[in-house]
């Protein structure tokens, strides 16, 4: 056992002196979340401010059919009515944000108590155009309301006649749940992938890398048993992976806590993001078997390879086996049930998503933890067996 400790200390020192390990284990997990959230929210709010502040050009076709409506549109601060012959083309060319078409004798129809259909043209794929459309619709519906009010007045009726059941909906989702929602969708994925990346580099370096540099034979010829060597290396890879996981969860929590994250900010009301401390603890505990699993699988794969390059060529496809199920948290409506709670990676992704939203279903948490731990133990056992196989250690 003391030899395992000796090997572990040496391997850790060895990989910590490598810039590549430091980058994948420390720098990326710490920097990624703040950078992503700052970058993303800066981009979003910049776009928003730009589109909101800008005066949108619209054209009004058939304006003479309804001067009162034209008047309202022209008075709107953020809109500018511009003439246009081909409004469809103008919208696609971004010369116009939206266009309104008023049918013939619309104002006469309205005066006689009839209705007049107004067409609004816009480009839903353009943020600016969306904004213009929203403003136009708002003006139109306010105008329609004023018409209704006048009509009711002439009939001697109250406006409430038309709204017998005014409805007001109340969102009871806790702040954690609301704030965590957007993040909860993709953060489990990020953490799972980072935990894997944290294990990848040391796994290759300590196995295939050692074969390439000839140091594997040196250690195999020493009195350390194959078990000592396997255990020392596994613990080193596991340490790197769990540190990556810890740093990414911490960085994520800090990012949220400091309120840098403002995906839902949308320019006006900044929603303070908060994550329950319990979610942090749950995520960390959950990542232990996940790290174990990744470390042993990656160690097994790279031990088989003869060189760094060969190991990478095996691991790249293996990444997808993890990336795809980890993405399950992106799919709306996929809920954790007992069956899914024993599907590797999918279960972790889903249960982490729930935890981030402040929803802790302990039965499922235990089942996810235990099934992952079981799988990890099998993987550790397989990895240990590989270290006893000459055809793997001395593959030519």
């Amino acid at each position: 056992m003391s030899k395992v400790w000796t090997i572990y200390r040496k391997e850790l020192l060895d990989i910590l002196r490598d810039r590549r390990t430091i980058i994948s284990m420390v720098v990326i997990p710490i920097v990624l979340f703040p950078a992503m959230t700052i970058g993303f929210s800066a981009l979003v709010s910049m776009q928003l401010k730009k589109s909101q502040a800008e005066i949108q050009k619209i054209s009004v076709d058939g304006a003479e059919n309804f001067p009162e409506l034209l008047d309202r549109l022209e008075k709107a601060k953020e809109l500018e009515v511009a003439p246009s012959t081909d409004y469809r083309l103008a919208i696609t060319q971004k010369k116009l944000s939206a266009a309104i078409v008023i049918p013939d004798s619309a104002d006469l129809k309205i005066q006689s108590g009839d209705s007049a259909e107004i067409d609004v043209y816009f480009d839903a794929a353009e943020v600016k155009s969306e904004f213009a459309k929203d403003k136009v619709l708002k003006i139109l519906s306010e105008f329609a309301d004023s018409i209704i009010a006048k009509r009711l007045e002439t009939l001697g009726a109250k406006p409430e006649m038309l709204r017998p059941l005014p409805i007001k909906s109340h969102n009871i989702a806790s702040e954690e749940k609301m704030s965590g929602f957007v993040l909860a969708i993709f953060l489990p994925y990020m953490i799972i992938i980072l935990t894997m990346i944290g294990a990848t580099y040391p796994a290759i370096d300590l196995t295939a890398g050692e074969k390439e540099r000839g140091t594997l034979e040196t250690i195999l010829a020493s009195p350390a048993s194959r078990f000592d060597i396997a255990a020392g290396k596994f613990l080193t890879i596991f340490t790197a992976s769990i540190i990556t996981a810890l740093l990414s969860v911490t960085s994520l929590t800090a990012t949220i806590g400091l309120g840098i994250a403002s995906f839902a900010e949308m320019g006006q009301s900044p929603i303070a993001f908060r994550m329950q401390p319990l979610a942090f603890v749950v995520l960390v505990i959950l990542m232990i078997p996940v790290s174990c699993l990744f470390s042993s699988v990656l160690m097994t794969i790279s031990l088989f390879a003869k060189s760094y390059k060969e190991a990478q060529s095996y691991i790249t496809p293996a990444m997808f086996v993890v990336i795809l199920p980890a993405m399950v948290s992106f799919i709306p409506g996929v809920e954790l049930d007992f069956k899914l709670s024993i599907v590797p990676i999918v279960n972790v992704s889903l249960v982490a998503k729930e935890a981030l939203m402040g929803n802790f279903r302990w039965g499922y948490l235990v089942s996810v933890f235990l099934s992952t731990a079981l799988l990890a133990s099998i993987a550790v056992f397989v990895a240990k067996r590989q270290f006893e196989r000459e055809e793997v250690l001395f593959r030519i």
Partner: protein
């Protein structure tokens, strides 16, 4: 004392099928003796020496290192062996001092003791200048000195060296030759493989020529000369590998 008793090693290769890398090989090397293993590429030298060093398990037969069975007690046997080959590299990101400390711990040598031995070897080989420089930055010759120290650290009575001079320049090979001579004078049993004839002729007390995994000649150079009636070792070798017309 090294003793191999009918060691055989089979490899299963997908393309080539079953390979008999070493075929019922028996030989011995006493303390204070140097046994040179000669053979063409692929003759089975590395495989045979790896079996002695417990890196590979023989398919049949066994070997004894100071009467310890390498198959039954590999960890005990390893403690008696200093193993060096062209494949035994050093950790590039560690310094010679750290490497020696590490292997010292694995061999169960106390910290003070391994520091003393490092000092000894550092004086003999002249390593003082680079004991705390990362291996990455060392020259081939300097690395070789560190490797020698690593091999001799636990004062092994048995030395197993697989083509230790392969790929080395003259200076670095000279260190190895010196190591072998010194080890002999210290009454260790030394076995080393090479395909450089004059190296074997210069150093060895006995020669083992292997071909296709089998021993074709074994004995002192005198004995081989008598057996073959050939004077030149190069010619003896070619004769023994069936390449002489």
């Amino acid at each position: 004392m090294i003793r191999a008793e009918a060691i055989t090693k089979l490899f299963h290769d997908k393309k080539r099928g079953e390979i008999v890398a070493v075929n019922k090989l028996s030989f011995a090397c006493k303390s204070g003796m140097i046994l040179g293993v000669l053979g063409l590429n692929g003759a089975g030298k590395t495989t045979a020496l790896r079996i002695l060093a417990t890196l590979l398990k023989p398919s049949s037969g066994t070997a004894f290192i100071n009467n310890i069975d390498v198959v039954k007690y590999p960890d005990k046997a390893k403690a008696q062996i200093g193993f060096i080959s062209s494949d035994t590299g050093l950790y590039r990101r560690l310094t010679p001092r750290e490497i020696v400390g590490y292997f010292g711990e694995l061999y169960g040598i106390s910290r003070q003791e391994s520091a003393i031995r490092l000092k000894e070897y550092s004086e003999i080989l002249g390593m003082d200048d680079f004991l705390d420089t990362k291996v990455d930055k060392l020259s081939t010759g300097q690395k070789q000195k560190v490797s020698i120290t690593r091999t001799m650290l636990h004062n092994p009575p048995i030395l197993i060296m697989d083509e230790p001079t392969a790929g080395l320049d003259i200076v670095a090979s000279a260190h190895i030759v010196e190591l072998i001579r010194r080890a002999k004078s210290q009454n260790r049993a030394i076995i080393f493989s090479t395909h450089i004839m004059h190296e074997a002729q210069r150093l060895c007390d006995e020669i083992l020529i292997i071909h296709n995994g089998m021993a074709t000649r074994n004995g002192t150079i005198e004995k081989l000369r008598m057996e073959t009636g050939i004077e030149d070792l190069d010619q003896i070798f070619l004769d023994s590998v069936g390449d002489l017309d």
